[in-house]
């Protein structure tokens, strides 16, 4: 009887300490994530402005339907998709190459690891103004190009070059992040595998394609999904470069910038929430596709 009591007491103590440990987190997500998420879903079916509450009213699916014929949103979605398609593969390939480099026996390994990673810890706003400076019409990059007889464009101010310029900047500043994750993965591959392959006479390329890549597969997929999610949320660079306008001529308008402007400049908050949910669904679908592929790949 007494033993049973202590068992029960211990169980209760375990449970209570579990809740106590998780309490700050539970409180925080309830108030600042789950609650707002539900609220955002509700107002996405409303005409809703925080400034003029009397005018708020239910509109059903009107916000979602309007999205399909909104030229700015369509442009933003197109820009964001192009941005993602350009950035994701390029940055993952560069990241993998760099990870292989800093994982090999080169001189000054630590220096190169740090050098390659440093852009990642740098503020996107700082990176944006630094690149705006380097790539201005009469900036350093165009001066260097002129030495080779190339007349450089005006990059961020040119309708054709503005989005690719932001893409280049994003690749530059986030490659290090994916490199480090690849690096951690490379270090987990048992060295016996390589030794055995060497005994069997496999050359460097065979070892890379038959051992390294298959062993890295889960990490490739992890990086792929993180990179996709990240690119679909691009905002900072587009905002700084265009000073919030998405210009020139909507060339740098992204989905999140469109949400920001609709919600907090036009105060069209119901419509902005509908946009945000479309973004959420896109990210959700991309993640679920990745999960499914990932599961099939590993088993």
């Amino acid at each position: 009887m007494e033993a049973k009591m202590t068992m029960k007491k211990r169980y209760l103590y375990e449970a209570l300490s579990g809740y106590a440990f998780a309490l700050p987190f539970i409180a925080s997500i309830s108030i600042f994530l789950i609650g707002p998420l539900i609220y955002a879903f509700i107002i996405s079916f409303k005409e809703f402005s925080f400034l003029n509450p009397e005018a708020n009213r239910w509109v059903g699916f009107a916000n979602y339907i309007k999205l399909f014929s909104d030229p700015t949103f369509k442009r933003a979605l197109l820009n964001t998709t192009l941005y993602s398609l350009g950035v994701v593969p390029t940055q993952l390939i560069i990241a993998l190459i760099l990870a292989l480099i800093v994982n090999s026996d080169i001189k000054g390994k630590t220096f190169f690891r740090v050098a390659y990673y440093i852009p990642t810890v740098t503020s996107t706003v700082a990176v944006s103004v630094i690149f705006l400076y380097l790539f201005k019409a009469d900036g350093l990059v165009n001066a260097l190009l002129a030495k080779f007889g190339i007349q450089g464009p005006t990059w961020f101010n040119d309708v054709r070059f503005a989005l690719p310029s932001i893409m280049m900047m994003a690749i530059w500043s986030s490659v290090g992040n994916y490199m480090v994750i690849f690096l951690a993965g490379l270090q987990d591959i048992p060295s016996e595998l390589y030794e055995a392959a060497e005994v069997d006479g496999a050359n460097k390329f065979q070892r890379f394609f038959k051992i390294t890549l298959p062993m890295l597969r889960p990490i490739v997929f992890f990086n792929l999904v993180m990179s996709l999610i990240g690119t679909f949320q691009v905002f900072d660079q587009a905002y700084v470069v265009s000073q919030g306008t998405g210009g020139p001529l909507d060339a740098t308008m992204t989905v999140v910038l469109d949400i920001y402007r609709t919600g907090f400049r036009d105060f069209n908050m119901g419509y902005a929430s509908a946009m945000a949910f479309v973004l959420f669904v896109i990210i959700l679908i991309l993640t679920l596709i990745q999960r499914k592929l990932f599961k099939e790949e590993t088993y």
């Binding site: 375990e14 449970a15 209570l16 300490s17 579990g18 809740y19 440990f21 998780a22 700050p24 987190f25 539970i26 997500i29 108030i31 600042f32 609650g35 707002p36 998420l37 609220y39 955002a40 925080f50 760099l98 480099i101 740090v114 390659y116 440093i118 810890v121 740098t122 503020s123 706003v125 700082a126 103004v129 630094i130 705006l132 400076y133 350093l140 480090v180 994750i181 690096l183 951690a184 270090q187 889960p218 992890f222 999610i229 679909f232 905002f235 900072d236 905002y239 700084v240 000073q243 999140v256 949400i259 920001y260 919600g263 908050m269 902005a272 929430s273 945000a276 949910f277 959700l284 993640t287």
Partner: protein, 269 residues
């Protein structure tokens, strides 16, 4: 042939380092140039000066923005390290009803882009009177699903024996956590520290939403607004950019030796 390959290899290795470090070096040089020499690429070492830094600190509120960023980043980083570790530990080690459900919630919420809750969070904070205050810039950001996931994976990789021995010695759960588990978690905590500090210090979208007067701006918001008005003064803009960049680079350099280790043990892959 082998020598040629080696040369090519080192060209790539050094070349990419030039690509990553070059822009910083050029902006540091520019930040030290007097305005009269801005339109030339030549650098006259004798003319280099700290005047631009003095200027942005004395004539513009950069010091205030720096302090705002430091206060906000310190509170948010400390909160995240403490609360994410606690929640991660509960999910990894303590048996309580609803644990699996809670973990599923963490995983599911990791997929929610922050922008979805921008409008409601803004409304909530303005009802609380927290817009344009330190409260608004810190309280909503004290935990992170990603950070909790990281810490849980790390705690699962720790051997259980030490904690079991401590239980027999009569240590409470809190005692075990603070005296035994946390001291063993340095690589994971350092990794988390780098992620949380740089993430918050560099954060731009939320602070630009949640601040309305320039005395409450954080450094990224301030630099963006300064750039918007004084973009011709590239030497001062670059001084601001370096001021914004330096703290995260210094912190990364201090903690980097734990970093790769921290990433592999936290199962962040």
């Amino acid at each position: 042939m082998k020598k040629v390959l080696r040369f090519l290899f080192y060209t790539v290795v050094v070349g990419y380092a030039v690509i990553t470090l070059g822009p910083f070096i050029w902006s540091i040089i520019t930040s030290l140039k007097p305005t009269s020499e801005l339109n030339t690429f030549a650098v006259n070492i004798k003319h280099l000066t700290l005047d631009n830094y003095k200027m942005i600190i004395t004539k513009f509120p950069f010091l205030r923005w720096f302090i705002n960023s430091a206060i906000v980043a310190a509170i948010v980083t400390f909160g995240n390290i403490l609360f994410n570790s606690m929640a991660g530990y509960a999910l990894a080690r303590i048996n309580f009803p609803g644990r699996n459900l809670l973990f599923m919630v963490v995983l599911a919420l990791m997929m929610v882009p922050g922008q979805v809750v921008m409008v409601p969070t803004y409304i909530l904070l303005s009802k609380l009177g927290w817009v344009n205050t330190y409260m608004g810039l810190t309280i909503p950001f004290l935990t992170s699903n990603f950070g909790i996931f990281l810490m849980r994976q790390f705690f699962l990789s720790l051997p259980k024996e030490l904690e079991e021995a401590a239980t027999i010695d009569g240590l409470s759960r809190f005692g075990i956590f603070f005296k035994i588990v946390l001291p063993l978690s340095k690589p994971a905590l350092a990794t988390q520290f780098i992620f949380m500090f740089t993430g918050n210090w560099n954060s731009f979208l939320w602070p630009s939403l949640l601040t309305s007067t320039d005395n409450m701006y954080t450094l990224p918001v301030g630099l963006n607004s300064f750039y918007g008005q004084y973009y011709q003064f590239w030497n001062q803009v670059m001084a601001g950019a370096i001021l914004l960049t330096l703290p995260t680079i210094v912190i990364f350099l201090i903690f980097q030796r734990y970093f790769v280790k921290g990433i592999s043990t936290t199962g962040l892959k």
